[in-house]
């Protein structure tokens, strides 16, 4: 394993998660940022690098009163924050800045101060996807899954188990939106949204935010919390059009980002104690387990159905309850990162005992982009 150069020294979510009708989107950014600064024992004036997505870096820098000398506005969907971590680690290692603040927030449910997402009629998506009845992520993101199921023999029951197991994790988390236990039958009898997916296989829609603060590993020991080191990371993009993916049996962006992170970290799959795979919909953990090389694709459904990712299982996955049960403001990647940091600090509500390495894998758009970050708590 290589010597880590950069660490997370501040991490926090917004004070509240869920339905926050008394705060605009930009204020949710500020709430998360101020919480992360307090967590790190830093002042706004200590921040010299800033990264954010959807909102522009200039918007956030101005609102918070920060004068950055390094800026990253990479906005590739819900995994943007994984890419920010990777870019920030490189910038800090190169001496471009010393202390980076990454913010995310979305008024995803209350829609206060949030720009509407629209598809221009003369874009490629507007010409070649929108006319065929797509209306938001639930009608697009699951389009590949029937092909994946046919190719690899994955069953509806196995895809229902993804939601069941994540609800088991959420039940241990006081901040999770949905904590009531559910069964495979509950999932398969919940309201049909976009066949083959039903309500309980689709992510929540909530308000919230999160922020991270990164600095050099050298400085990281002088902060209030145990440093969480960035061991490796990877990123890629494929296409904004789900219909134009190279294959529906795999995500090319996952296959580029995941292995790059493992190679940089110098770890193997058996070293992984804790895993987050962004679950906007129930099929994503299966693609992630396959594309990141944990197991052959045909084994992914049976692996989850056998309980190996549930509390007490050999590969704890989405331990905050995930986008399906914890929260999902629209760009969930930040919350996956927050959970990896909590697990590495040893303070997660559903703490994995003695976890030393956490892999955090994100998706952006409908398989449009991907980012993977591998964290460790040993220097």
């Amino acid at each position: 394993m290589r010597k880590p150069q950069v660490a997370v020294v501040g991490a926090a979510e917004t004070t509240r998660l869920g339905i926050i009708p008394d705060m605009s989107q930009i204020q949710l950014h500020a709430d998360a940022a101020l919480n992360a600064l307090a967590d790190a024992g830093l002042k706004l004036s200590d921040i010299d690098g800033i990264a954010t997505a959807v909102e522009t870096p200039q918007q956030i820098a101005h609102y918070l009163g920060i004068t950055p000398r390094w800026v990253d506005g990479t906005s590739v969907g819900g995994c943007s924050f994984m890419l920010h971590v990777r870019h920030a680690a490189a910038a800090i290692a190169a001496g471009l800045c010393s202390t980076v603040l990454i913010t995310h927030a979305e008024s995803g449910k209350s829609m206060i101060g949030k720009l509407p997402r629209s598809i221009p009629a003369d874009s490629l998506q507007g010409q070649f996807e929108a006319p065929f009845g797509v209306v938001g992520p639930p009608s697009m993101f699951p389009i590949p899954v029937l092909r994946f199921m046919k190719t690899f023999g994955i069953t509806h029951e196995q895809l229902a188990m993804v939601a069941v197991v994540q609800r088991e994790w959420a039940a241990k988390n006081p901040r999770a939106m949905m904590k009531e236990p559910i069964s495979v039958d509950d999932v398969l009898n919940s309201r049909m949204i976009a066949y083959p997916f039903r309500l309980l296989q689709c992510c929540l829609v909530t308000d919230g935010g999160g922020a991270l603060i990164l600095t050099s590993a050298e400085r990281a020991k002088n902060f209030p919390h145990k440093p969480v080191y960035v061991l490796g990371a990877g990123e890629s993009v494929e296409t904004p059009m789900v219909s134009q993916m190279e294959s529906f049996n795999s995500s090319r962006a996952f296959r580029v980002a995941g292995p790059a992170a493992f190679a940089e970290a110098g770890i193997s799959h058996s070293d992984v104690d804790h895993l987050m795979i962004y679950d906007a919909f129930a099929h994503l953990p299966l693609y992630g387990l396959g594309d990141l090389g944990f197991m052959p694709y045909e084994d992914t459904g049976p692996f989850i159905a056998a309980g190996h990712t549930r509390p007490g299982g050999k590969l704890p996955l989405n331990t905050n309850g995930g986008g399906l049960s914890y929260m999902h403001s629209g760009m969930y990647g930040m919350y996956a990162l927050q959970e990896s940091v909590r697990q590495m600090r040893g303070i997660a509500p559903a703490q994995v005992p003695n976890a030393r390495i956490s892999v955090c894998h994100g998706v952006g758009g409908m398989f449009a982009a991907s980012g993977t970050v591998i964290f460790g708590n040993q220097d």
């Binding site: 009629a121 490629l124 070649f128 065929f132 009845g133 797509v134 389009i143 066949y195 529906f248």
Partner: protein, 137 residues
């Protein structure tokens, strides 16, 4: 209040030939003159080799069902749920999003890899959409 209409594509200079094609009852694809790669969506260069010498040709219209969802809610303007949003694989190789007509919108009727053929659905004087129906015979 008028009912919202189905999303209507607005052609660009690079895609106009495709929409002229559907209006004329043709599904037009592009092939690279250099490396013979056939691709979609339209662009005036080959996304495989970068060559700018490309030719437009009329595809066979034969395809198979690659994958789909049956959207139950909410329905897009101009659609009545449940309806399938499909991705079809053209005989020539490229895939495209479309709808499946003349077929029940059910998992039982919509079998992956079923043979399809192109049909054309006129939206207005300028735009005709390519859709697909189960192949005859």
């Amino acid at each position: 209040m008028a009912e919202l209409a189905r999303a209507r594509p607005k052609p660009t200079p690079e895609t106009q030939h495709f929409w002229d094609g559907t209006k004329a009852g043709e599904l037009r694809l592009q092939r690279c003159d250099g490396c013979a790669h056939i691709y979609f969506p339209p662009r005036p260069f080959c996304p495989h080799c970068g060559g700018r010498a490309v030719s437009i040709f009329s595809a066979s219209g034969r395809a198979s069902l690659y994958s789909y969802v049956i959207n139950h809610r909410p329905a897009a303007p101009g659609f009545a749920a449940p309806y399938a949003i499909a991705v079809v694989e053209l005989e020539e190789g490229p895939r495209m999003m479309s709808n499946i007509i003349d077929c029940p919108q059910t998992p039982e009727a919509l079998q992956l890899d079923m043979k399809l053929e192109v049909a054309f659905e006129r939206l207005d004087d300028a735009i005709t959409l390519p859709v697909f129906r189960p192949a005859k015979g």
